[in-house]
C-alpha cells in the first residue's frame, strides 16, 4: 500500500495509530498524540505560607508535653514527699 504523503493538500488532520479525537489548532495541522501521552502537569498556585507558631510535625508539642509532664510530675512528687516527711515527723 502506498504510503500517504506527510503533508497533503487535505486540510483535515489524519489519525495515526489509535484514534482518540481530532483537534483543529488554527493554521497548524498535523497528527495529534493520544491524550494520555500528552505532557501534563498540575497547575501550581502560590503555596500557602505556614501559619505563625504552627508546628505541623507536632514535635514541639510532644516535647513540650513530655517536658511539662515530667517537670509537673516531679514537682508534685517532691511536694508530696515534703509533706509526707513533715507530717510523719509530726505524728511520730
Amino acid at each position: 500500500m502506498e504510503r500517504e504523503p506527510r503533508y497533503s493538500s487535505d486540510p483535515g488532520p489524519r489519525a495515526v495509530g489509535r484514534v482518540t479525537g481530532r483537534v483543529r489548532l488554527g493554521p497548524v495541522i498535523g497528527r495529534v498524540p493520544p491524550i494520555e501521552r500528552a505532557h501534563t502537569e498540575i497547575a501550581h498556585f502560590h503555596e500557602l505560607p505556614k501559619p505563625v507558631f504552627s508546628d505541623t510535625s507536632g514535635v514541639r508539642r510532644r516535647r513540650l508535653r513530655a517536658g511539662a509532664l515530667t517537670v509537673g510530675a516531679l514537682l508534685l512528687i517532691l511536694l508530696l514527699a515534703f509533706w509526707i516527711s513533715q507530717l510523719s515527723g509530726a505524728l511520730e
Partner: protein, 717 residues
Amino acid sequence: MTLYHGTHQTTSRPARRSGPHLIALVLVALLGLLANMLLVEAYLRNDFAPDSEPGQEQPADAVPAAVASGGPVIDVSGTSPHTYRMPARTIALTFDDGPDSRWTPRILDVLHRHQARGTFFVLGSLVVRHPELARRIAAEGHEIGVHTFTHPRVAALPTWLRGLEHSATRGAIAYTTGRSSSLYRPPYSSIADALDNSDLPTLRETAHQGYLTVLNDLDGEDWQRPGVEAIVRNATPAGTSGAIVLLHDAGGDRSQTVAALDRLIPRLQARGYRFTTVSAALAGSIPAANPQAGFAERSRGWALVWMVRTADLTLELLWLLLFAAGVLFLGRTLLVVVTAQRHARRRRSPGWSWGPPVSDPVTIVVPAFNEAKTIEPAVRSLAQSVHPGVEVIVVDDASTDGTGAVVTGLRLDNVRVIRTPSGGKAAALNTGVAFARHDLIVMVDADTVVEADAIHRLVQPFADPRVGAVSGNVKVGNRHSLLGTWQHIEYVVGFNLDRRLYDMLGCIPTIPGALGAFRRRAVEDAGGLQVDTLAEDTDLTIAVHRAGWRVVFEETARAWTEAPTGLRQLWRQRYRWSFGTMQALWKHRGAVIERGPSGRFGRRGLLLVTLFSVLLPLLAPLLDIMAVYGLVFLDRWAATIGWLSMMVIQAVTSAIAFRLDHESLRPLWTLPLQQVFYRQLMYLVLLHSALTAVAGRRLRWQKLRRTGEVTRPAPVG
C-alpha cells in the same frame, strides 16, 4: 500580592488533641505549687506575738501537784512526773524567741566575754532564716532547745499541728547544726506554778516525743524594757539558790538585756555562781540536750529549709513581678489618659482638618460566611451611606445559610455579590480588593452596622497623601446584657484611650476588621491580606506601617458591631484575637532592628503593644492574687486599700474614655463586677493563647454564633 487561594488546603495529619489536658495539668501543677509556697509563707509570717502577750485564765485543778510545786524542768513521760531544780549557785540563762540577726550575736559576745554558757530556745522559722546564728550557738558550747516553729499558742492548736511545730523546729536545728534537741519550752510559758489544764496535753505529747519541758524560776521581764538594773534585779536569785532565768534575744529591742547580762554575770560570778546550760547543770539526772541528729531528722530539716527558701524566693519574685505590673499599670494609665485627652483636644480644635474634603468613590468589601442573620442591616447601612459613589462588594465565602441570596434579594443597585469557594476571611478580602473598582477600599464585617456618614468620615484622612489606612470607631451594638455591657466598656476604653495614644505616637497596631479604610496602594505595598495569622487585620496594619504609610484613627466614623452573647462565644473570639495578635507581633518582630519607617514602627509600636497588650495582661493577675493573699494572710487594710485604689484608677480612666466618646456613664456601675469576673476570664484566654503558641498548635477560624441583634445605629450620646 497573593489574591486568592481557593480551596487549597495544607494537608496535615490531624493531630491528637492533647492541648486542654496539658494546659489543665500545667495549670494544676503551677497553681498547686504556688498555693503551697504562698501557704508556707503565710504560715511563716503568721502574726508573731511575743511571750509577753497575756493569755486567758484557765483552771489548773488537773495539773499534778508534783508538777505545780516542783522544779522548772519537767518530765512527764513516766507513770509519775519528775521535775528538776537547778543546783545551788548555778544559773541557767535561757533566751527565747531567737535567733535574731541583731541581738543574738551581741548576747553571744557577752556570754563569750564572761565565759558563761546559756540555753537558747529557738523558733524554727528563724533558724531557717539565720542558720549561721544557730551554728554559732552550738559551736560556742551553748544549748539549743525547741520553742516551736512560729510561736503559736500551742494549747489552741490541733494535735497534728502541734506535732508539726515541734518536729519542724527539731528538723531545722538538726539540718543547720547537726544536733538534735531534747529541751522544749512552750511559748507564753512561765513558772511551773502557772501551768494550767490547757497546758497538760502539750506537756504529755512533748514528753512522749522525748522532750523535757523547761520552764523558769526567774523572769527577767526584759520584754517590758524596765531598765537594766530592774532586769538584773529580776534575774538575781535569793541567797545561794540556783535558778533558770528567762530572758529574750529577739522580739524587740533587746539592748537592755545585753547590758543587764554584762552586769548580772560578773556580779553573780563574784558571789560564786556558775553560768551553765540546763542539761550541764542537771548532768546525771537528765540526758544531754543536743546529741547527734539522726538521718531522718536531718533529712526532714533539709526538706524544710529548702522548702522555706524556695517559698521565700517565690514570694520575693511575686512581689517583684507585682511591682513591675504596678509600674506598668500606673505608667500606662498616666500615659494613656494624658495623651488621649491631648488627642481629643487637638481633634476638637476649630482649626483641625485632614485637608480638602475627600469625595472620591469608595469600594466597601464585606467578607461573609454564614451571616444571613446579620448581613441585611449591615449591607443596607453601607449601601445607603451618604458618601458619593459607594460600591459594596459582598464576598460570600461559601456560605451554607443563603447569605448571598439574602444580599441578592435586597436588590440594591450598588451592591454586588461574589461567591467564592471556601478560603477564609483574608482570602475573601483579597478577592474583594481584586474586584474593587475604586482606589479607596473600606473593609467592614458582616455583623457591623455603620452610621450614614461613617464611610464619608472614615475616608476624610485620605486628604493627606501619606495616610494609607484609617481606623474607625467601633462600638458594641448589643449591650443589653451584663456581658454586652462589659464588652461595651472594654470597646469604649480601647478605642478612646489606647487607640488615641497609639494614634498620637503614630503606631496604631490594628485597623479593626469591623471598620477600616485603606488605599489600594497601601494594601498592595503591604502584600495584601496574608493567611498565616488569625489576626489578618493586625497583620495587614503592621505591614502597612512597615511599608511607610501613616495609619490614623478617625473617632467620628462610628459603627455598631455585634458582640458575642455567650461566654463560650466570647472565649472563642478573644482566644483568636489574642493568639492572632501574638502571631502578628512575632511575624513582624524583625521590624525592631530594621531601619526607616519599619524600624520606627517596630521600636515604638511593637514594643508598646508587647508591653501593654501582652506583658501587662499576663502580669495583671498578680494584682488580684496578691490582693487576695494580702487580704487573707497579710495586712488586710493595706491589701484592701491597694485593690480599691486600683479599682478607682480603672473607674476614673473608664469615665474619661466614656466622656471622650460622649457615652453615658451608667454602664460603669458594673465595673467592680467586671474587674472580678470578666478580667479573670481575659487572663485565662491570654494564658491559653500563649500556651497554644508555645505548643505550636494550629488554631483555625471558629465561627461565632450570630443573633442579629444589631439592626440600626444607636443614637449618639
